[in-house]
């Protein structure tokens, strides 16, 4: 990428100061791609114009040169801001651009990243459920949701407190030896792990599916026996 000199930066600042903007209300003035530059107007429906009076007087060649200079102003803080966008460039059709934008905004609504749906099964339940792990910020949140989802099927401590108890090693064996349910998950390697050992973010990234097992079956997944568990499966 071409490097930008002080003069060019200054030029850009001056340009920005003198320009008039007509943006959509509430918007930052930056919309998908088709922004106008240098007085050339695009014919998109969302009119977002930057009228640059200064540049209009220059010849086309100079415009081109200015554009060239203005492109390379890549500051990290404004990583994907459309700085010197030209109408219709890159030549990607608007329906394709807008679809990708919709997808992106959908995933961002989900909490910073693509939706992360995993199946949740529970021993004894007649059907599976699905949860989007990105909807939750911590194990606590997740347990709460799971508890609500499967509350009709458990007789034991499948509420969030029960699961939190499970995290506590001192209560662990009591819990496991009972008929309580224990949340487990299958990770990317195909191993069945106990939920709660790793940081939440890492868990979300590595969890393929969840299974709420009967406590007796989950004994082999107790925290102290994690290594054995890995070796076994």
């Amino acid at each position: 990428m071409a490097m930008i000199s002080k003069e060019h930066k200054k030029e850009k600042l001056e340009f920005e100061e003198t320009e008039l903007r007509l943006g959509l209300p509430g918007g930052g003035g930056i919309v998908n791609g088709d922004l106008v530059k240098n007085g050339k107007r695009g014919y998109t429906e969302t009119v977002d114009l930057k009228l640059n009076l200064a540049l209009k007087e220059t010849g086309k060649g100079e415009n081109l040169q200015k554009e060239k200079n203005l492109i390379s102003c890549s500051n990290d803080s404004v990583k994907h801001t459309h700085k010197a966008q030209v109408v219709g460039w890159p030549p990607v059709r608007s329906f394709r651009k807008s679809l990708m934008a919709v997808q992106k905004s959908n995933s961002e609504e989900g909490g910073g990243g693509a939706a992360s749906f995993v199946k949740v099964s529970m021993d004894g339940a007649p059907y599976l459920r699905k949860v989007d792990l990105n909807m939750y910020k911590s194990y606590q949140d997740l347990y709460g949701a799971l508890g609500k989802m499967f509350s009709s099927f458990t007789m034991g401590k499948c509420d969030s407190q029960g699961m939190m108890d499970f995290m506590n090693e001192r209560k662990l064996m009591d819990v496991l030896n009972g008929s309580d349910f224990v949340p487990t998950y299958e990770d990317k390697d195909g191993d069945w792990m106990l939920v709660g050992d790793v940081p939440w973010g890492m868990f979300v990234g590595s969890c393929n599916r969840l299974c709420i097992m009967k406590g007796t079956e989950a004994i082999g997944l107790a925290p102290r026996a994690m290594e054995k568990c890995k070796n076994r499966s």
């Binding site: 791609g33 695009g42 460039w89 059709r93 990708m100 749906f117 599976l128 949860v131």
Partner: protein, 648 residues
């Protein structure tokens, strides 16, 4: 040859139909007169010409003599109009009487990228008016980049009772209202395909408008219709369409709904999968259907697309069909290389593959390893931004060239490229017919050597002897055009942006490429003297587009003056309404038998802006103003008076 001189000339006057009958014109049946030798010849000719299907062959046949011209005109049943303004509908319907299938293309391709005002033209209505009278037996209608209104669809549905195929590509101006009318009225419709079109949601349940009995639908493509679909009705429609082979759903169809449709139509060959996600966050009380087995049941599936909002973990459901696929379109699926690999490695028969650059170079390497029969590849950008660190580069291109030796067509968006990779592709893939490389940063050089991309594209035109379509990008000097002019002898379509240094660039092209039909150039420093270099060739072209170049109004006028058979459309910025600035923003010229069009858009002036007006001029040298058939008051645009050329 000479016996027909007294009959109507080629100008398109009405040709009496009685030429083709055997019985004499004058009397009743008792006065049978045996046909003269001319008549026999024409009858024989017509019978023979019926077998000519290629339009190029037919065009050639029609030029032999007037007799052949007439016979050909009476027997042609398929018509292709490459530019809707090159000829008037009236002239067409006067010449061809028996048309059953017609394809009409409207706006130039750069209109897809917002380079033309939305009301620029390419209206279907005038064509429809003429066809509704003359082509009542129309069976197939194909429109590309045309403005089609709901009323037009209604009129078409009423006027063409045996319409079987309606295909609208990159069209706009209509909505689900229009679709409802088509569904309801076109009782014989077999093919209804809407592709890449902008369709208004009038909140009409158009799917419900299909007749209740068994349909003859073979193809239903509505993936671009951004409107909710009544699923239960769609399901019943699919169930009563036993001939349905192609079904492409929009993103309002969830994967569970897709499942239900698939089990009703296992005979499908082409499937557009819709959203390919559950759409609900948690499926309420529902078992997850066995998508895998639904795909397994579709034994004829060869073409898969859609995946508009894909949840990547569902992709494994398509494994059963991968081995049979010849076409896979993942260009809406934002998936990684890791997610692509298990799918693509099973697609041994794949010939067409479209993807997003999210698959990265690594994903393309997997394609290269698995898809040895690949003919067409398109890689689109997830983020169409110039200054980004894209995930695909010369590495992916090189890998494809090494693995997919039969490649014929490629469209590749990237942020960085090298000449070496392009040269390698030119040598590894000699069958290339279409090479479109879009390096998204303007004026980007070879990112390794820092040199212009001239040598890479030069190698393409030199080594790919079958090349007919080329799009260039990156930092390019006049040299690349020299190469193209020298070697691009079969080139028909060329797309140029932000390239070249001087007029020489365009001159090389216009002087060197005899087959050039469609030339679209933007933001390149080509001026009037380059424009004049093509005067010998413009009549042989479909169009020339120059935007943000250096041509002047004077230059455009001169071209119009010298070539009366051209229509020269100019869009220019004026500071005042009657500006005399020489600046030309867009030049679009094309040959036309019927002069400048009367439907040019009105001037648009928005009072909220500082005075910026647009003026659209039509130049038609040699005709007095009256013959232009326009008046400033009716169309609201300014026509320049030009001096009649003495030769006219």
């Amino acid at each position: 040859m000479s016996e027909d001189e007294e009959l109507p000339d080629l100008g398109g006057g009405a040709t009496p139909n009685s030429n083709s009958t055997v019985v004499s014109i004058g009397g009743g049946d008792q006065n049978y007169v045996s046909p003269g030798p001319d008549q026999v010849l024409e009858n024989v000719l017509e019978n023979v010409l019926c077998f000519l299907t290629s339009r190029r062959d037919r065009n050639a046949a029609s030029l032999v003599c007037k007799s052949w011209y007439r016979a050909e005109a009476l027997t042609r049943s398929e018509l292709f109009i490459g530019n809707c303004y090159s000829v008037s509908p009236r002239r067409v319907t006067n010449r061809f009487r028996l048309i059953k299938a017609i394809a009409i293309k409207g706006k130039p391709r750069f209109s897809d990228f917002s380079l033309l005002p939305p009301d620029w033209g390419a209206h279907f209505a005038p064509w429809l008016r003429a066809m509704a009278i003359s082509y009542r037996a129309l069976e197939k209608l194909y429109l590309k980049r045309m403005c089609v209104r709901d009323e037009d669809l209604a009129i078409a549905a009423h006027s063409f009772p045996i319409l079987k195929e309606l295909v609208l590509v990159c069209c706009e101006g209509f909505g689900t209202d229009g679709l409802a009318i088509v569904a309801r009225e076109c009782r014989q419709i077999r093919v209804l395909e809407l592709m890449d079109s902008v369709i208004r949601d009038n909140e009409v349940d158009w799917i419900s408008c299909f007749p209740e009995d068994v349909t003859c639908l073979e193809s239903l493509i509505f993936d671009c219709v951004e409107a909710p679909i009544n699923f239960e009705v769609l399901e019943r429609l699919v169930a009563r369409s036993p001939s349905l082979k192609k079904l492409m759903l929009n993103s309002y169809i969830s994967i569970t709904q897709l499942y239900r449709l698939m089990i009703r139509a296992p005979q499908l060959t082409h499937l557009g999968t819709g959203s390919f996600s559950p759409l609900e966050i948690v499926a309420q009380g529902e078992h997850e259907p066995d998508y895998f087995s639904a795909f397994a049941a579709c034994k004829s599936l060869i073409c898969l697309s859609g995946f508009k909002e894909i949840i990547p973990e569902y992709l494994s459901a398509i494994y059963p069909v991968c081995g049979n696929l010849t076409s896979l379109n993942l260009s809406y699926a934002n998936i990684s290389a890791e997610q692509l690999k298990p799918v693509i490695r099973q697609c041994h028969k794949l010939q067409t593959f479209w993807a997003l650059d999210s698959v990265s170079d690594e994903g393309l390497q997997a394609v290269s390893a698995a898809c040895k029969d690949l003919r067409e590849l398109r890689v689109f950008p997830v983020e169409a931004l110039e200054d980004a660190e894209g995930p695909v580069s010369e590495v992916g291109l090189l890998a494809i060239s090494e693995g997919c030796r039969k490649l014929q067509s490629i469209l590749y968006f990237c942020h960085r490229m090298t000449n070496a990779a392009v040269v390698a592709m030119s040598k590894n893939c000699p069958d290339l017919v279409v090479f479109r490389l879009c390096i998204m940063g303007r004026h980007m050089p070879d990112h390794v050597t820092g040199e212009p991309m001239d040598e890479g594209f030069g190698a393409i035109v030199k080594n790919c002897k079958k090349l007919t379509r080329l799009a260039v990008s990156g930092l390019l000097t006049d040299r690349v055009f020299n190469y193209i002019g020298q070697y691009g002898k079969l080139l028909r379509t060329l797309s140029v942006a932000f390239a070249g240094n001087t007029d020489l660039g365009l001159k090389y092209l216009l002087e060197g490429c005899p087959k050039l039909q469609k030339l679209e150039i933007r933001d390149s420093p080509f001026g009037d003297s380059a424009l004049f270099a093509g005067l010998h060739h413009y009549y042989n072209m479909r169009f020339l587009w120059l935007s943000a170049c250096k041509v002047t109004r004077q230059g455009c006028k001169e071209v119009a003056r010298q070539l009366p058979g051209l229509v020269v459309e100019v869009i220019a910025w004026n500071e005042e309404e009657n500006g005399t600035s020489e600046d030309v923003d867009t030049l679009y010229l094309y040959r036309s038998l019927d002069g400048p069009r009367a439907d040019a858009p009105r001037l648009m002036v928005r009072p909220s802006l500082i005075m910026l007006g647009k003026a659209l001029f039509n130049y038609r040298a040699g005709f007095p103003l009256a013959a232009l058939k326009i008046s400033p008051s009716s169309c609201g645009f300014h026509a320049l008076a030009v001096e009649p050329s003495p030769a006219a």
